[in-house]
């Protein structure tokens, strides 16, 4: 430490002050509302520029929202806890702090009035606590205590969902693969033993009107050479195995394409995915494209298959030379077609290919938990009213003065409840007198 006095550079206090201002604004509810507004605007812009959603500053906004929700929730948590699990009965005297009061006079002793009031609140569904003091009775009733916890849960759920999304982004993975019928793929989970998925068959099912009803991948999970699970993967029915999910995503056809020289010798062979092509000679710009596989070809309507059975399988092709389209047509499976003066091409086999998405998302359970909390929280918060009432009963020349005070959440409902209570009290009272 030097013994020079530490003089803050001028301006630093105002920097600190403005930092404090920004900090407390970001931690306040109004700040939260502003952040939500900015997120809305950014989300709209993102519709036209989707890269925004993955940009650092958009994620920063989401982080800011989480910070905001967390700080707001922390501020509330203590009060909420104390209100729910009070350590003593002092709050029962809260009647003295409530401004709104209605009072009524009953021709009863205070202890009788207290019993009636207690029972009335009870029948109205309140949890009641009463306290006898030198100056009379305090009676406190409360119901719907869960409502503010619901609000708390809604806010907390936002943090859960954000945490789950973050975990998924950081530790999860997601990639797409294509599998030919009969082939398999090795999945290597980060936590656990690797396994293989094998596509045994791929079929498309149709409705009577010809529209697709399902794409079905008949799949097996193989571990250590043994089949452990088999499942028909369809849209809406992914396969889950060891935290890895496999989704039906796309489909295609793999067309085995062979190029032959004049003497019928195969000089090049390749699996061509439907609609893509195979380059035969770069220099000559020679290529063949397998445009579409037609299982049941009809020359009168060459572009559409008459059925889904391979009754008359053809491949629609285009041939390019010098980079330009020079020929096109429909070739029966197995039959060579002329490519150039010396070369022939033939499509020997068409095999269905299924496209899968393979996903591991360790954040998912946390997101689901967040969804659950949010739903339950919203119903508790908005469908249940938190109500608190205080009664103060004092003696006045052998009759009782009952003061009614009520607070219901933040709403100005006190009067309504106190009126209801008054009516109840007077009916109870008259019942006693009548009896």
């Amino acid at each position: 430490m030097s013994d020079k006095p530490v003089i803050p550079p001028s301006g630093s206090t105002s920097v600190k002050q403005s930092f404090d201002v920004v900090w407390s604004a970001m931690a306040s509810m109004r700040g939260g509302m502003i952040i939500l507004g900015v997120i809305c605007v950014a989300a709209i812009v993102g519709i036209f520029k989707p890269s925004i959603y993955n940009s650092l500053w958009f994620q920063g906004l989401e982080g800011l929202l989480c910070f905001n929700v967390a700080s707001c929730s922390m501020k509330r948590a203590k009060a909420l806890w104390q209100a729910t699990f009070p350590v003593d009965y002092s709050w029962v005297r809260g009647a003295d702090q409530q401004a709104e009061a209605n009072s009524l006079r009953l021709d009863l002793k205070t202890n009788q009035a207290a019993v009636i009031a207690y029972n009335c609140l009870n029948t109205m569904g309140y949890k009641v606590v009463s306290l006898l003091t030198d100056s009379g009775y305090y009676i406190y009733g409360e119901k719907g205590k869960i409502a503010p916890w619901g609000t708390f849960a809604v806010h907390l759920s936002i943090l859960f969902i954000a945490a789950g999304a973050l975990i998924g982004n950081v530790f999860g993975y997601n990639h797409e693969i294509s599998l030919k019928v009969g082939s398999s793929y090795t999945v290597m989970p980060q936590n656990g033993q690797q396994f293989e998925i094998k596509l045994n068959n791929f079929t498309t099912e149709f409705y009577e009107d010809g529209s697709v009803s399902d794409w079905i991948s008949d799949t097996a999970v193989i571990r250590d050479g043994q089949e452990v699970v088999s499942k028909l993967i369809k849209v809406n029915h992914p396969l889950s195995f060891n935290d890895v999910s496999i989704y039906q995503q796309s489909y295609s056809t793999s067309i085995n394409t062979e190029v032959m020289d004049g003497r019928g010798r195969v000089i090049k062979q390749q699996e061509v995915i439907e609609s893509s092509g195979m380059v035969i000679s770069d220099q000559a710009g020679l290529a063949v494209q397998a445009v579409r596989y037609i299982p049941d070809f009809n020359p009168a309507r060459p572009m559409v298959s008459q059925s889904n059975e391979a009754r008359n399988p053809h491949v629609l092709y285009i041939i390019y030379a010098g980079g330009r389209e020079i020929d096109w047509g429909a070739a029966p499976i197995g039959k060579p077609i002329k490519l150039s003066d010396e070369l022939l091409v033939r499509f020997t086999q068409a095999v269905p290919v299924s496209g899968f998405q393979i996903k591991y998302n360790p954040g998912l359970p946390i997101v689901w938990l967040g969804f659950f909390l949010m739903t339950v929280g919203f119903f508790c918060s908005l469908y249940i009213r938190h109500k608190r009432v205080w009664l103060r009963i004092t003696d006045d020349n052998n009759s009782s003065i009952v003061k009614v005070m009520a607070v219901a959440g933040k709403n100005q409902e006190g009067y309504r409840i106190s009126n209801e209570l008054q009516i109840k009290l007077s009916t109870c009272h008259s019942a006693v007198r009548g009896g």
Partner: protein
């Protein structure tokens, strides 16, 4: 058959709309009876349209804009009937029915034959998704109509036309309360709507959230109502300020549901890519 029934509902709602407005304009109480007959006839044919469609499709009619539209309008009218009988004030019909009838007209334009469900739509989550939409959007449509009523009435009062018409309408305080009740009723279902959609997307597409325009707009709608709730309960917003948020919220609902489909098409991809 369902389209004729839905068209009949459209004409009934149109008639009811005219009758309710005439009631408010002419202050002629007998018109209310006819208006109610028209609404109820419309509601009955709307219900039948849904039943017939369900029978024809062999599933709930929740698969496209036309089918959902029938259910949506049905929900609005159901809430209308409830609010009207609960609060014994018939003027609200002059505000809710125009909304219902315009929407009926729009959805009728999207009429289409029953088609079997494509693979991505074959999910129970979709059913839950659409059922929550009917509840949430129905109640929000009512909140919107009532907010418009509030704004209109407060304009009448500003113009100091404290006339009989003004007395016919519920008090501003009552309308304000009703709008708030409709929104607080709807918001948990709006939340569930987005959540069921996300869960469905997780199973169908392998991702619960992809920021496609439909998801994005549903989030924006939800945020608008979240801001409204905070303003209302924590900052004490009341009156016009709260009503403007209620109107904006429903505008976002309509955009999510109709605007995105028409203006930003092709992005909510149901089908598998090939």
């Amino acid at each position: 058959m369902d389209s004729q029934l839905f068209l009949a509902a459209f004409f009934c709602y149109f008639a009811a709309c005219g009758l309710y407005i005439a009631y408010v304009a002419l202050e002629n109480k007998t018109l209310v009876r006819y208006a109610r007959i028209a609404v109820i006839s419309g509601f009955v044919s709307n219900t039948l349209a849904l039943v017939v469609r369900t029978g024809a499709a062999g599933r709930l009619p929740f698969a496209n804009m036309y089918e959902f539209g029938m259910a949506f309008v049905w929900g609005i009218i159901l809430f209308h009937l409830y609010v009207e009988s609960r609060y014994k004030n018939n003027t609200i019909g002059a505000f809710i029915l125009p909304v219902a009838f315009v929407l009926t007209g729009i959805f009728a334009l999207f009429q289409q034959e029953v088609r079997p469900l494509m693979p991505a739509l074959k999910s129970n989550w979709l059913m839950a998704h659409v059922a929550t939409a009917v509840i949430a959007y129905g109640a929000l449509a009512v909140s919107f109509a009532l907010a418009v009523m509030y704004l209109w009435k407060s304009k009448l009062e500003d113009d100091s036309h404290a006339n009989a018409l003004n007395l016919l309408l519920p008090s501003l305080e009552t309308i304000d309360k009703l709008v708030h009740q409709a929104i607080t009723f709807a918001v948990p279902f709006l939340t569930l709507l987005i959540i069921t959609g996300a869960i469905w997307a997780e199973y169908a597409w392998g991702d619960y959230w992809r920021w496609d325009p439909k998801e994005t707009w549903s989030l924006i709608t939800w945020i608008i109502y979240a801001v409204y709730l905070h303003g209302r309960t924590a900052l004490g917003w009341k009156g016009k300020k709260a009503m403007n948020w209620a109107v904006a919220g429903f505008a976002a609902v309509l955009f999510t549901f109709i605007g995105v489909n028409l203006l930003l098409p092709g992005l909510h991809s149901y089908a598998l890519s090939r």
